[in-house]
């Protein structure tokens, strides 16, 4: 079997939801040992508040989002309000290369796990702290969820129709931007550590990672004074540029035309309809955009999506299915990349997991072990890896250290 890229890397993870633990998931997919520390006293929101649950019945071991975030990790429970719990966390950290946490700023320090404390006994430690707005600044302590932060970073105002309220994106869009940047920042710091033999504290602001994805908007406003807002599916550089109905209920395709030659190919493919003027140039098409959109929608709505796509692809016109969530499981490109995986789980039977969007052919990701139950790996980690004796383990358990 091929090696995995991050074999030997040891990571301890604190926190919940997606923004921290999904960073660890990418590392675990590639062979890092990732130990996720949680507590029964205050369960991860993904375990308790995020449908769907297996058979529609809420429960901490039945939550699909939690499962999807935690494949191939070791899961332990520790009550960090106890001294012994904190000491065990420190022992886990002392044998690790990196720690990931996404608590509200200040939480780790209050638990006795602040960077200064940890770095004193482990100067090579890399600590990734990822939170909404960064560890510093006047709004650092303000709690928030990814959905709202997605709004504050500009994405929501850019989504929907100019004459309507903005539309939401599904889920906490920005969290997964911050996840990619979290993986990047952590691996860059570990690389530097190989040379300097010194770790560091990474303060990652999810808000600021989101702004990287809207940078052109911010630059455009400063250069031109134009405040770009949501505009349906229109684009400044292409006409037509839209989503059109195909035969059937709620079946859509996306079509765009980016230059005169492509426009000519589209006209030919459609048999030179009257609504498609032979005029060349973006501005000429722009002035006829409403009629073009109506004509194109009328043409697509009388055909199956398969036929629309086949005909426009033969004509080398930009076209794609608007994949719904069922389509994503049958998409030939995603299938080829094995994006969707199904892992076994003692309570759920099976759960959905996701493969990485990038492929490393020499060191492919392995998505093998389903998510852990609460404290499933306590013995394996505390006795096996830290060397607690059976007696000691039982005493600590009785004292609620593993709650």
């Amino acid at each position: 079997m091929r090696p995995r890229a991050l074999e030997g890397l040891k990571v301890v993870e604190f926190g919940g939801f997606a923004a921290g633990p999904q960073v660890g998931k990418h590392l675990a997919d590639h062979g890092a040992e990732v130990i996720h520390v949680e507590t029964r006293r205050r369960l991860d929101g993904f375990r308790t508040n995020y449908p769907p649950f297996k058979d529609g019945v809420p429960g901490p071991e039945r939550a699909a989002m939690f499962a999807m975030t935690h494949n191939d990790k070791l899961g332990v429970t520790l009550n960090l309000k106890t001294e012994a719990g904190v000491e065990l966390a420190r022992r886990l950290i002392r044998r690790a290369d990196a720690v990931i946490e996404n608590f509200t700023p200040g939480t780790m320090a209050r638990l006795g796990l602040g960077y200064e404390t940890l770095a004193r006994e482990h100067p090579e430690l890399v600590l990734l702290s990822t939170c909404n707005q960064g560890q510093t600044g006047p709004h650092a302590g303000h709690p928030g969820f990814g959905t709202h932060l997605t709004a504050m970073s500009g994405f929501i105002n850019l989504t929907g129709w100019p004459d309507r309220d903005p539309s939401l994106l599904w889920g906490p869009y920005i969290d997964y931007i911050a996840v990619a940047y979290g993986v990047i920042a952590l691996l860059a710091a570990l690389d530097e550590r190989r040379r300097s033999r010194r770790g560091c504290h990474i303060d990652l602001s999810q808000y600021e990672t989101g702004l990287q994805f809207v940078a052109p908007l911010l630059i455009e406003y400063q250069r031109t004074g134009r405040l770009r807002e949501r505009d349906g599916n229109r684009d400044p550089g292409a006409v037509p540029h839209g989503v059109y109905p195909c035969a059937g209920e709620e079946v859509w395709c996306a079509i765009s035309v980016h230059d005169d030659r492509e426009w000519e190919r589209l006209r030919r493919a459609l048999g030179y309809p009257a609504w498609a003027p032979p005029r060349s140039g973006l501005e000429a098409r722009r002035s006829a955009e409403a009629a073009i959109d109506r004509g194109l929608a009328e043409w697509t709505s009388r055909r199956s999506r398969e036929e629309v796509i086949a005909r426009l692809r033969r004509a080398r016109v930009h076209v794609a299915p608007v994949n719904d969530m069922r389509d994503l499981f049958a998409d030939p490109q995603l299938e080829r990349r094995r994006i969707w995986r199904h892992l076994t789980h003692p309570v759920m039977g099976e759960h959905l997991a996701v493969g990485p969007p990038f492929h490393l052919p020499e060191t492919p990701a392995r998505i093998e072990r389903g998510a852990f139950l609460l404290g499933q790996h306590n013995r394996e980690v505390f006795c096996g890896l830290l060397g607690l004796g059976e007696q000691e383990y039982r005493t600590l358990e009785r004292e609620g250290v593993f709650d």
Binding site: A238, E250, Q333
Partner: protein
């Protein structure tokens, strides 16, 4: 961190300082090279004679900051020969040409790998290098559609929409950079490079990953629902998340859990101070109100009162109140709001280039920002000569 930038520039983190990147990307991969540049790598952007055609666009300026430009004509034997010489000593090569393009130029993975077994090469493509869609033309709209993001956004009575600013290239580039650094970690240990393959369509799956689970697990097909959150209430009640206020919109929702209950109670406390809690809701124990299990009737009643209250506030008033009272909510910001944000000013989250502020420094390494050393590159500033690039 051990390494700091040069004496004259502001201090910045440069964890990738020892490495050189050849950046052959089109728009689909610009941000990938920028990410490596802001972590301190020397990123040599290879441009065709005359430079990229889209140099004056805002996206070009945003995503090529910090690179140095080298003009090379890859259609000429001389240009290809120079590229091979550069690749022989490069640490990374990032490209986003259509699948097979570099192979046809004699610059494909096999050749580069033989020349430089340590090289980590990253190819970013719309749909991956193989398969029925591999060579289909794809702009942002098609990729957002094929990746599932379009289906989920927009109002139910109109066609689904994409975000009105290209996003697919950003997702592809960011996840490509993550994959590149994972491959680099392996190379650092073994000396062996590899060819990282990143699909833009697949990179959009993380952006929407909460939705397909409903299909996989329950056979439910999540639908676009405008300003409402769906799938968060066990009775299926849509939960409003975007609300009108006096000068735009704000984002807030009736969540559950400890934080959600506290947030709801704090908002109703604020409303009570302003006399805006209607009679029917005066006796509700908001500390015990669980959005995810509340009945649709309860949700409707509470939301009508909240809508009336939020309509009296500006975005700024709401946000200030939300911070003071620890309410889970934020403004629905425009570019203007973001540029005026106090938090970003306090964190010096901007880099000013030619009088324009670019968002910069998303992470601080021991306080030092990940920030490009240089600004927007001039065409061919590194010239045509290998000697100038390597500095010998």
């Amino acid at each position: 961190m051990g390494d700091l930038a040069g004496q004259d520039g502001p201090l910045r983190a440069v964890p990738l300082a020892p490495y050189r990147v050849l950046d052959l990307t089109t728009e689909l991969g610009w941000l990938c090279g920028k990410i490596l540049a802001e972590l301190g790598a020397e990123v040599v952007k290879v441009e065709p004679p005359g430079g990229d055609l889209d140099r004056d666009t805002d996206a070009w300026r945003a995503y090529n900051v910090g690179k140095r430009s080298l003009v090379l004509d890859l259609d000429s034997p001389d240009g290809r020969r120079l590229l091979l010489r550069l690749a022989a000593s490069a640490d990374f090569l990032v490209e986003s040409f259509p699948p097979g393009h570099l192979d046809r130029l004699g610059l494909g993975w096999e050749r580069l790998h033989r020349l430089n077994p340590r090289l980590v090469m990253t190819s970013i493509t719309p749909y991956g290098p193989e398969g029925p869609w591999a060579t289909a033309p794809a702009s942002d709209l098609e990729l957002m559609a094929a990746g599932g993001a379009v289906w989920l956004a927009g109002d139910p009575d109109r066609p689904p929409v994409r975000i009105s600013l290209p996003q697919a290239a950003c997702w592809a580039s960011a996840y490509a950079a993550a994959g590149t650094l994972i491959a680099h970690h392996h190379r650092a240990a073994t000396g062996r490079g590899q060819h990282v393959d990143c699909s833009a369509q697949a990179s959009l799956i993380p952006a929407i990953v909460h939705a397909p689970i409903f299909w996989a697990m329950e056979g439910i097909l999540p639908h676009r629902s405008g300003p409402f959150l769906v799938g968060r209430n066990v009775h299926g009640a849509p939960m409003r998340n975007v609300w009108r206020c006096r000068d735009g919109h704000v984002s807030f929702a009736l969540y559950g859990g400890e934080a959600g209950r506290r947030s709801t109670a704090a908002l109703f406390g604020w409303m009570a101070e302003r006399g805006m809690v209607p009679e029917a809701l005066r006796d509700v124990d908001w500390q015990g109100f669980e959005g995810p299990v509340a009945s649709p009737e309860q949700v409707a009643l509470a939301e009508a009162a909240i809508a009336a209250f939020l309509a009296t506030l500006t975005k700024r008033e709401f946000y200030r109140g939300a911070i003071e009272r620890r309410i889970l909510g934020y403004p629905v910001a425009t570019a203007e709001d973001i540029l005026a944000d106090e938090q970003l000013a306090a964190r010096e989250a901007w880099q000013e280039l030619d009088g324009v502020r670019h968002p910069s420094g998303y992470a601080r390494f021991d306080g030092l920002p990940a920030r490009p050393a240089s600004g927007i590159p001039e065409v061919g500033e590194l010239g045509w000569h290998v000697a100038e690039v390597s500095g010998d």
